[in-house]
Symmetry: C2
Subunit: 354 residues, 2 copies
């Protein structure tokens, strides 16, 4: 049975990407060798790295603007540590916005390295909204925020002014909507939402902001070193890198971010429309802060839980269970999720009403 | 044409592993979903993690001995930093043996965190031997060494006594030979030699040695936290983990480390025999310290270089070029390299003589 994959991440990837990735495991580049058994210093793999970096800058509109794209190990969780190591001066201060679990984790790691000011938090209402009533202090070396909160289904629609650098964890909505990416100095994202499989992390950084903290930075945590080594200081996660490159290529061929944004808007509108108009469901996040990627919702009548779950299963719907800290349901509608899958889910919701 | 893959890493993996990995990209676990598009918290992926951990301890003979196996991000290069973070007390000292590029890199990172004593180094002769004339100081919290040096083709045949913990980077020879693994307290290894593709790192650690340094350890660098979270503190590199599990399973079915050690001994003996008896070649590493995994050798008559390279290419031999810091040739004979490939190489060497 065809599956409709609403997983929150790792999540759905384009079918054509999966097909090419599967082939590359057996025979890459027509060399009768697998992608995963050749040197990362060989030309075909170096070409993949270069192409992936180039596609990132092109898709984000950051070519020739002093940015570098890196594909690193560790997940976004390691970036929580790398950010202050590279950007927080020893006696400096950084400002963080707390909009959910991932923001809170970023704050925890940064506090190990210095003075962190939490400018606002929506923890008081289980992170169901994005705070707006705050200003970023002028003496903060950087401002850090999370653009989309997978668990709670909220998304920042605008970003505050900041005198220091702007840093954003875009793990769960990068490449999904148009933004002025050049207004950020450091963007990072675990691949496993809109870009590829788990196991590689994208870092996009304005090179000129580095080298100013006075810290001794361990090699693996040093953005400058990774830039100097062209993102191959150590063996990169070749397979995850390759699949990311294929997914970026797929997005470019589709028309890039403007094209996918329209599709994402259509999918989100269709689902939120049903949530708002079907009396059996209600949304979790504040309407104005709703995420285009992750829709969180609950049943108004919990006795229908088994019935709804069964209808979903019969329709081939996968990965709809909400995170334990929110409960209910979460439909993740990342770039590769077809409109058809949202239609199937909406039909199941309508059928439950009948 | 069939390839004979002598790459130093990423390197050859068993064909049946590549086949299963390729299939899992399209349809994993007969669920009509790809391995790389489902949640790492889903039962099939958690099962892969558990099985991989169990196979590691079983193959190394470390079951029920207080060890934990972790599959982490970052490569062995991140372990260079994690080792002192987790094992070096704030005012303590650690002892390191310098046997090559990777030892030197480990030393560099450790020095950021404390007092490091280099007990011996073979840098004086371009790392062509393993030093033995040293003792590990009793006040060292731990002793760190690299069991096999891919670049130089040397391998430790025995390990010194140490009062502190014994730590070993076994990236390039783990699972290739029988050792008393329980004599080590911490073993780590990047996957991309004998275990799987690049992008995951194995850590085997005696749990009782943790939590004694007095340091605040960043989450992603904290072994104790990774143990508590069953190696899923953040999204693991699922694909690399899965391929590692398949490779460990392949090794177990083959008869485990005793069986592969015999095969590896046969392969190495065959190649070194040719190197020693063919006047056109000579080995680089001191004989008693030769690696069973990576044989480094040169042509005695450099004018034959083009001819030898061409014969190799015609025979389908891949990845034989030596590392730039040694020159010449390096034949890596990891677990998955068939005896047949060594025979092909030896025949080419014999043909050059004719």
């Amino acid at each position: 049975m065809k599956k409709h994959n609403f997983s929150a991440g790792p999540c759905i990837l384009p079918q054509e990407v999966l097909k090419k990735a599967s082939e590359a495991i057996l025979n890459f580049n027509n060399d009768n060798l697998s992608l995963i058994e050749i040197s990362h210093r060989s030309k075909p793999v170096v070409d993949v790295m270069n192409k992936a970096q180039q596609l990132v800058l092109e898709l984000l509109g950051l070519e020739n603007k002093g940015y570098k794209a890196l594909f690193l190990h560790g997940g976004a969780s390691l970036e929580f540590l790398m950010t202050p190591y590279n950007l927080l001066p020893i006696d400096g201060k950084a400002a963080y916005l707390d909009t959910g679990t991932w923001s809170a984790k970023a704050i925890k790691e940064a506090k190990l390295l210095g003075n962190i000011e939490i400018v606002a938090s929506s923890k008081d209402k289980n992170y169901s909204y994005i705070p707006t009533d705050y200003t970023v202090p002028d003496d903060a070396a950087y401002f850090h925020c999370t653009s989309n909160n997978t668990i709670y289904g909220t998304q920042m629609k605008s970003f505050p002014n900041a005198k220091g650098y702007r840093v954003c964890d875009m793990s769960s909505d990068i490449f999904s909507r148009q933004l002025d990416f050049s207004s950020f100095d450091l963007i990072y994202a675990g691949a496993q939402k809109n870009m590829g499989p788990a196991g590689v992390t994208l870092v996009v950084i304005k090179e000129e902001i580095l080298g100013k903290t006075g810290r001794s930075i361990p090699s693996m945590l040093d953005y400058k070193l990774h830039i100097d080594k062209e993102s191959m200081f150590n063996t990169p996660p070749v397979f995850a890198l390759y699949v990311s490159m294929l997914t970026l290529e797929w997005l470019k061929n589709l028309g890039g971010i403007p094209a996918i944004e329209k599709i994402n808007q259509t999918k989100a509108a269709m689902l939120y429309d049903e949530i708002d108009n079907n009396p059996l469901f209600e949304g979790v996040a504040v309407k104005s802060d709703r995420s285009m990627m992750n829709a969180t919702f609950t049943l108004t009548d919990l006795t229908l839980t088994d019935k709804f779950d069964k209808l979903c299963e019969q329709a081939g719907i996968n990965g709809l269970k909400g995170h334990r800290s929110v409960g209910g349901y979460r439909a993740s509608m990342y770039n590769a999720l077809p409109l058809e899958s949202v239609e199937v889910l909406v039909n199941v919701m309508k059928n439950l009403k009948k």
